[in-house]
Every structure is written in C-alpha cells, then in structure tokens.
C-alpha cells in the first residue's frame, strides 16, 4: 500500500522539523545565532488520469483527473537573518553589529570565515581575536600600554596611551555582506563560510548604506523566539503522530486483506 510509504515520508519530514527546533532551542543563548526553519514541499505526482483530457468527442473535459501524490520532502533548512537583541556587557572587546553584515575572521589555515558573534578578546600578542583565538581581519594590534580602547560605530579602533591625550587610531574594522546570506555555510563556532550559492563577499565600512553599525560593549543575542519554537514543536509532534496513525490504519487494512484470504 502506497499510504504507508507516504506516511513514512511525512514522519521523516516532521522528524527533521523537530531536530531543527531542538537546535534552535539549544542555541537560544548563543551569541549571534540565527534561527533556522525547515521548509517542506510535496513530492512528484503520478498521473493516473490527466485533468483536462477529453471525455467525449463533443469536447467535454475531465474536470479534475486523478493525480496521486507520493508524500513530502524537506526542501531546505534555512536561516532567518533577523536582527537579534543587543545586550550590554560593558566589555570593550564585545562588539555587536546593529544591522546587516558580518565580521571577517581569518582561520589559522588562512581560510576566510564570517561571523556575527562579536565576543572578541586579545591574543598574547595583543591582537584582536575571536574566543577561538582566530584573527579578526585585518589583524588589529592593541598596544600593551593602552589605557582605553574605543571602537566607534564606523568601526574605527582608537586607543589612548599614558602621557598622550589624543586618541591614536590603530585599525579599522570592515563589515562584509553577501548577495545571498542564506547560502552561507555554517561550520559551527558561530562561523560561516562563503559558498557558490552565497555569492562573492563585498566589504565596506560599517555605517555605509546597506551595512550595519558597530556597537561597542554589546553582544547580539540569538534571534530565537522560544514561544514560537515551543508552539512549532507541539505542531510538529502532533503532525508526526497523525502520520503514524496513517501507518496504523494502512496496516489494519492490510491485515483485513490477509484475513480475507484465510477464510
């Protein structure tokens, strides 16, 4: 019976749905995490009787025909790139992006990666790095004798040193955007990689049209809405149950059939 395998596709789809929701809830407190959503689409149809075929010579047409579906499949799990709330941390190396864009990170092997999690720190050499120790491009070095470090909304990094009243610019952060941010590949550790589907990175100073601004002393929280996730979880669980009921019903019909033969 086809009903069984169709219901199985439904159960698989809902399982993926629950997995995505679980990952969202697990990352509720992950800095810069973007909520994900599973997206479904119907499978191919088998045309038993094509709608619109002639039913007589005088031009009458079959109004609906018989097209039998084969179930459902997960077409995508995509990120919803809405802005997360900014929470104040008072740490001078915590930077949040208010608006679109990503920080550019250089991994130890030289690969370019991108992130919205601005919880940075200093390396032993005084370089601005991520919490994994990866360099934040372009590799800004904060002098060891700096008393205050300021990152303004345009990404300019300025330090004051003892005996020098005027702030000294030591670097400039840039933000990166992609034509299709949904196409970025998440590699964990809050990092994303460029892919063929994301398009080529385009960099500009923070505050340029189309790019966000930098807020020092803040972190962007995840944009997961727990209420929304729990509601989706309940819906997914019920949908899973309903599909399993179809399997049971189809099974009962088959058992009826086999009992007929036994009579």
């Amino acid at each position: 019976m086809r009903a069984m395998s169709i219901a199985a596709t439904g159960m698989l789809a809902q399982q993926t749905n629950v997995e995505v929701i679980a990952n969202n809830l697990a990352n509720m407190n992950t800095t810069g995490y973007k909520q994900q959503r599973a997206e479904f689409e119907d499978l191919l149809y088998q045309n038993v009787e094509m709608p619109g075929t002639a039913t007589s010579d005088s031009g009458t047409l079959l109004p609906s025909g018989i097209q039998l579906g084969a179930g459902v499949r997960t077409s995508a799990v995509y990120r919803i790139g809405g802005q997360g709330d900014l929470s104040s941390t008072k740490n001078p190396y915590d930077l949040a992006i208010n608006g679109p864009g990503y920080f550019h990170i250089v991994e130890p092997d030289g690969t370019d990666a991108y992130t919205r999690a601005g919880n940075f720190a200093l390396s032993p050499q005084g370089q601005l790095v991520t919490d994994q120790g990866f360099t934040v491009a372009p590799g800004i070095i904060i002098p060891t004798n700096a008393t205050t470090v300021t990152v303004n909304s345009q990404g300019q990094v300025q330090v004051t040193t003892p005996g020098n009243p005027t702030p000294n610019t030591v670097g400039q952060l840039e933000l990166t955007r992609f034509p299709n941010e949904g196409g970025l590949q998440a590699i964990g550790n809050n990092l994303y990689l460029e892919t063929a589907s994301s398009g080529a990175p385009q960099s500009a100073l923070p505050g340029t049209i189309g790019y966000g601004m930098i807020q020092q002393g803040f972190l962007e929280t995840s944009n997961v809405d727990p209420v929304n996730e729990i509601t989706s979880l309940i819906t997914a669980q019920r949908a899973y149950e309903m599909n399993s009921k179809v399997v049971t019903a189809a099974d009962q019909m088959m058992s009826t059939t086999s009992q007929m033969a036994g009579a």
Binding site: V72, Y78, N180, N243, M260, A263
Partner: protein, 245 residues
C-alpha cells in the same frame, strides 16, 4: 453470482486509493500552500442479462474513483519574519521560470541566488514585470508592498507578477509546490502580498483522520461481505454437490 465479489473488489480498490490521498494530505500538513485533496467516487452501472422470471435486466453498481479534487481554500497565514517569505492573500499564483517553461506556485518561500535574484528553494527565478528580479546589497532592507512592488533604499526595483487562471482546478501538479498549465494566465485582481508570512497548508487534520477511520471501517465491512459471500458459495457447493442417497 460473482458480482458480489467483483463489486466488493471495486470498493476496496477505491478505498485503498482514498487512503493514499489521505496519507499524502497528512504528509503535507506542514508544506506551505499545500491544497488538500479529496477523492470523488462515481457509480458505474452495469446491466446484467435478464434471467428467467425477470422482466427487465438487473442493474448492478460498481464503485469507481473518478477524480481527485483539490480544495482551493486559502491556508492560514503564518508569520516567519523572513523578508523573502511572501503569502498571497486572495486568489492567484506566483510565476516561476523553470527549465520546462513558466510554472506557478502559491508557496512564497523565496530566497536570493548568488547574483542577487529572487529564486525559489530550487533556484528557479521568480518573475516580475520585467522578468527575473535582481537585488543588490546596496538596496538595504527590501520592502515588498501588498501589490507586489519590490523596493529598497534606492527606490522601486520591480513588481512581482501574480496571475490567475480561468479554471484553477485544471492546473497540473508538478511536485515541489509547482503547478503547470496550458491556460493563459491573466493578472490576478484583489490579491494582496504579505511580506514575512507564509500561507500554511489547508489540510485539516481532524477531517483527514476521521475520513481515514471511515474508509478503514468501510474497507473492513466490504472485506467481511466478501468473506460471507465466499462461505455462502462453499456451503452451496457442499450442500448441492453432496452425493444423493
């Protein structure tokens, strides 16, 4: 005499097909803009040869499934907050360019491709008034108005095409939420696009589950009819075929 068995069989085959359709409806309970389907049955009347004592031929009715009808009710609108999730509020379809020509969909979950064009999850371009719609990062936040006008920081970019057809039920399902047709599309009127929303599937789980129960029980009833008919037959053979003393 075999007609009872054949009529039962015709009902059981129809029941199995209804079950497949219900399974497909329930499997697609989370598919955006999925339209639930119903099997329509038809009575197929056959005339039996008149037997001795009959004044006219005896009609018998078989069951035949004649069509799978799409319920075109609008699904609920669900908020996703994704800038390229669009819901159609009212009749109509988005136009999508596929390798097999233009196809139509009500599933408004779109995204951007590497060149910044609005595409479906399968990478097929969504059609505006002047073909594919391309967006650059300089356009900033994209606003899509109820009439389909796509605008960014630098003003209007394009207008998303929404079309309708003389006979929506004649649209052929292609899977992946797409429909194809040979009908000529005409611009949809009175349809509003809601940005950041998706139309959910219009499958009503309660209806489907109760329908499923009904079919399962009817199938069982027919099966027991077949069994009784069979035991009737075997009894007849035993009794009538018993040696005459």
């Amino acid at each position: 005499m075999d007609n009872t068995l054949l009529i039962s069989l015709s009902h059981q085959l129809a029941a199995i097909r209804s079950m497949d359709v219900i399974a497909n409806n329930l499997a697609n309970v989370s598919t955006p803009a999925f339209k639930r389907e119903n099997v329509k049955f038809e009575e197929l009347v056959a005339q039996l040869r008149a037997q001795e004592g009959d004044t006219s031929p005896q009609p018998v009715s078989f069951v035949q499934d004649k069509g799978v009808v799409r319920n075109l009710d609008e699904g609920r609108l669900e908020r996703t907050n994704n800038a390229f999730d669009l819901a159609l509020n009212g009749p109509g379809y988005f136009v999508v360019q596929t390798p097999k020509g233009n196809q139509y969909t009500r599933n408004g979950h779109f995204t951007l491709d590497p060149s910044g064009q609005i595409v479906t999850e399968n990478g097929e371009t969504v059609q505006g008034d002047g073909g594919a719609i391309a967006i650059t990062p300089n356009d900033g936040d994209i606003h899509i108005a109820a009439d389909g006008t796509v605008s960014g920081k630098n003003g209007q970019i394009a207008k998303i095409q929404v079309v309708n057809f003389a006979n929506e039920r004649m649209l052929l399902k292609e899977g992946s939420s797409l429909y194809s047709t040979t009908q000529t599309p005409s611009p949809a009127t009175g349809t509003a696009i809601s940005q950041g929303m998706l139309e959910s599937s219009n499958v009503e789980p309660v209806v489907e589950i109760s329908h499923m129960m009904e079919i399962m029980r009817a199938y069982q009833a027919t099966a027991s009819l077949t069994q009784q008919q069979e035991s009737l037959l075997s009894q007849a053979i035993e009794k009538l075929g018993a040696p005459v003393n």
